[in-house]
Symmetry: C2
């Protein structure tokens, strides 16, 4: 039983108010993203990209496209978490290190690529769903890492997706799935919002 | 610095092989889902539902719709993690406990509901994306909780979504966003698959 992890899950809450004087350096941002990429992705596609918006100018540009929310600029860094449309053709490259490490047999690679092709090829909605799922798994791990480092975080969906994609140079295969602000939480933040009783959301079969 | 959390993120890996003789009781399933619902959702909509498939019969029915993957039946429980299409009209009920607790002012409730309406009403793709995001955040927290309790877990997307929705009685507003198997991992499982260098997935602006 790893109780610090359970405690972290128990206590996580969304930060609304940040200390605008706090900064997170690029090495810390790098470490947050490194841990975020430990999250799972379908077939280990790793179909994501993290844009760390941390200069005053870039944060102001993003805030203007995100309902003018103060946390976008008050947080130390706001990530644009992008999912990439699932594409089976990148799989050999993405799994090459696992093949080289010896635990994925080379012959299995073609089987996995074929399964991914069968799932996604010609299925734009499923490709898009996978972009959202992968980005959300990555964002979740990034937020857990931030919490463990003593910071607050905020997942945000209130922004103009197409405008953010254009302003920050997303590729045609990239979806800005959500924003995640990270920084020093002020003490005035709300407590965790109560949740529905488990009985309302759990069915046992 | 909460290093057990960072260590858990660092070490997480997907389980492929489960000890089919291991079982997880309903109280433990309840606790996994309770912790899963600590994950964030847009406006605290909590637009999710967790179907815990744990009887041999139900697991067999699910496996037949999920590429006949052995882990669906070998795991102690396989969750169908459902997202619900985002619907602003449920917000007053979902936020009522926070209003009663005194930290969300009643006047703010209408503002929040209006914002959610502006975001989702008449926007089926955004409603759907939110179902996927919420379910994935919940799945991520559930998997972290399972790991902390000593179990392995497997997020799965290889299944027939419409058939699962029909076989397990999902409502019209529910999307089977992914499956998550949880159980006792066998020692023969693969190690964590190597990830892309951070430089390939991080942009600093």
């Amino acid at each position: 039983m790893n109780s610090p992890v359970l405690q972290a899950l128990e206590e996580r809450r969304t930060t609304n108010l940040y200390d605008a004087s706090h900064s997170i350096d690029d090495a810390q941002i790098h470490e947050l993203v490194r841990l975020a990429t430990k999250a799972p992705t379908s077939f280990n596609l790793q179909n994501w990209r993290f844009i760390a918006v941390r200069t005053p100018d870039a944060k102001a540009r993003l805030r203007a496209l995100a309902w003018d929310q103060a946390k976008v600029t008050d947080a130390s860094v706001t990530f644009i978490v992008c999912g990439q449309l699932a594409d089976h053709s990148v799989l050999p490259e993405r799994l090459a290190p696992a093949v080289e490490a010896g635990f994925i047999p080379p012959a299995l690679l073609a089987v996995l690529e074929g399964a991914a092709k069968g799932l996604y090829a010609g299925q734009p909605q499923l490709q898009h769903d996978e972009a959202i799922r992968s980005a959300t798994f990555g964002a979740s791990a990034l937020m857990m890492a931030a919490q463990a480092m003593g910071w607050g975080s905020t997942p945000m969906i209130g922004f103009d997706g197409p405008a953010v994609a254009q302003a920050f140079g997303l590729a045609d295969n990239e979806v800005p799935a959500l924003l995640v602000a990270v920084g020093a939480a002020l003490p005035e933040n709300w407590p965790q919002k109560p949740r529905r009783p488990v009985e309302q959301v759990l069915e046992l079969v």
